[in-house]
Amino acid sequence: MEGVHKVNLFCNLKPMVILPFVLLCCFPFFSHAAVATEECLGCHEAYKGSVHSELSCTDCHGEVTKIPHAEKLPKPSCSECHDDRVKRFSSSVHALEGIDCKECHDVHFLNKGAKQRIDATICVRCHKKTCEAYDNSVHAKKGAVSCTGCHNPHNIKTYKELNANERKAVCSRCHKDYMEKHGWLPNTALHFTYLECTTCHSPRSEKSMVFFFARRDGQKKVPLTFRDFTGILGSGGKISMLAQIERDPVATSADIEALFAVLRKGLGRHLLVEASILVTTVYHDHSVKSTVKKSCALCHSGEAPFYRSMYLILPEQQGNLYLPVKGTLLSSYPLQMVLDIVLIGLGKIKQADIDALFKLGPSERANYIKDLGYKWIDLVGLALLLLVLIFVSLHLVLGVLIRR
């Protein structure tokens, strides 16, 4: 009876219940059925100490079902385990340049102690010049930080994609007291709104005055994104859609004015042009301290180096376009465009401006007269002063002569 009872029990179970149970019991045999890790290590013994050795080889190389396997195996997908990191990495400049995980991380030899952190020996493979400059810097000599101490290679952007605040954020992680240390600088907070650390602390880097379109949001000024641009201009692809910019990749004040006028239709009075003084060609020694001159005239003068290198930043779908800016700027723009940007020394008329007014041809002169902008205050003011001085001198001389 007992036997009959057992048979009845199995007969009463439905196939829908049995099948998953059987599959579940057999899963380990199917999944690792082909090759066991011990078998792999027979040939690849060196991989034993890897941080990945906690996994079985077929966790990543699931397609290996027998030994010997094919010489070239398909690339395993790191995102199955490192999903977040791979997602972040996919928008980094490294990923956009076609670099994959394996270029920096030797997954088989990843040392357990060092974990995933890579060192400068990896970075130097591509960034030789940068590493050489850095090796001679105070940061390196004092052993302050390695590359990854400042830069996260998984979400790194190119230097030109970082605005002044993002650049300052890198330094201020260690140099938290930078505002107090720069108390000697008049209007410290105002200066740091427009500058980044390396503007001064890397004398061999090239500095530029960069302009960008921004939107006023309460007290904040938010740089326009690619989406903002295409939302207003209705154009996909590159922002550099202005025909004349495409033909001649240099922005004149007229080009920027035209673009401003179009954008203003979409954003109204909230639109403005902002500026920063940024490093645009990096020499990777950011630790120069003693030779930094505490001289205001270094920047507040028409001779400041960044006037010779000015750019308009236009956001692209990926990255930013740095468009060289030609001619006198800022002071020549309509007021509503550059309300916020004042840099002492910029509105000052120079000998070269006056010379140019006399030497240029009629059509060029008309443009130049417009480009002088706020410099006209100096020009007219000085001319009037000179005229009055001449008049007064004549009056004096005439008076003396007649009295004799």
């Binding site: 008049p186 505490k294 205001c296 007021l335 916020d340 004042v342 003011g381 002063l385 004096l396 008076g399």
Partner: protein, 212 residues
């Protein structure tokens, strides 16, 4: 020669203190505008001197305004009246021609009528338009963070404040140039300058044509 009392002690002291502040501001402004000219050493020193001299100028102006309103200085010497208008053209003709021909000055100052029509136009515009504009824009520029809301609500941004400040300063400098020239060279033996020191101006007594 007759001596006419023109300037009270208060006005004389204020004038020279104010002149010192204006000269300090003018010199430092040159360094601010042309940073390569380091008259006061570091640019920062120039900026600070200009800033505090500016505050002193504001205080000096407020003092002058209060004193002038209470003492009648504004009422007697600054308010432009019908008869002042009539005197403008003869006065201008005198400075441009008559002075060279040895003609007498058509205007004779008195303690309660110090300025001729031309002077009234110059001093009134300087003290009630240009100086207040320079002071207001200067104070705003002295701390653009603190005055930020004001800068946008009244002045259309810091660039415009700067532009107004500099443009009016040029007008003020032209006024200063003419003022100093006329004070030093157009009186009789520095009579205008002496009047601002001692209070009394020595005026030549016009010859009586009947007696001559």
């Amino acid at each position: 020669m007759k001596r006419i009392f023109l300037h009270t002690l208060t006005i004389r002291v204020w004038h020279w203190v104010n002149a010192f502040i204006v000269i300090l501001l003018a010199i430092t402004s040159l360094q601010l505008r042309v940073p390569d000219i380091a008259l006061f050493g570091a640019y920062k020193s120039g900026v600070l001197i200009h800033k505090y001299a500016g505050y002193a100028m504001a205080a000096s102006f407020m003092f002058w305004l209060g004193y002038s309103l209470l003492s009648g200085n504004v009422r007697y010497n600054y308010v432009f009246r019908q008869k002042d208008l009539a005197g403008v053209f003869p006065q201008a003709r005198f400075y441009l021609l008559g002075i060279f021909k040895g003609e007498a000055n058509p205007f004779v100052p008195a303690a309660k009528a110090k300025f001729n029509g031309l002077q009234k136009i110059a001093y009134m515009s300087t003290m009630f338009v240009f100086t207040p504009l320079i002071i207001m824009t200067g104070i705003v520029l002295s701390d653009i963070f603190y005055f930020r809301p004001l800068i946008y609500s009244i002045f259309w941004g810091p660039r415009m404040v700067d532009a107004i400040h500099v443009a009016v300063v040029y007008v003020f400098l032209i006024y200063m140039l003419i003022h100093m020239y006329m004070a030093i060279f157009l009186g009789t033996r520095l009579s205008h300058v002496k009047a601002m020191i001692f209070g009394y101006e020595e005026e030549p007594v016009p010859e009586n044509p009947e007696k001559a």
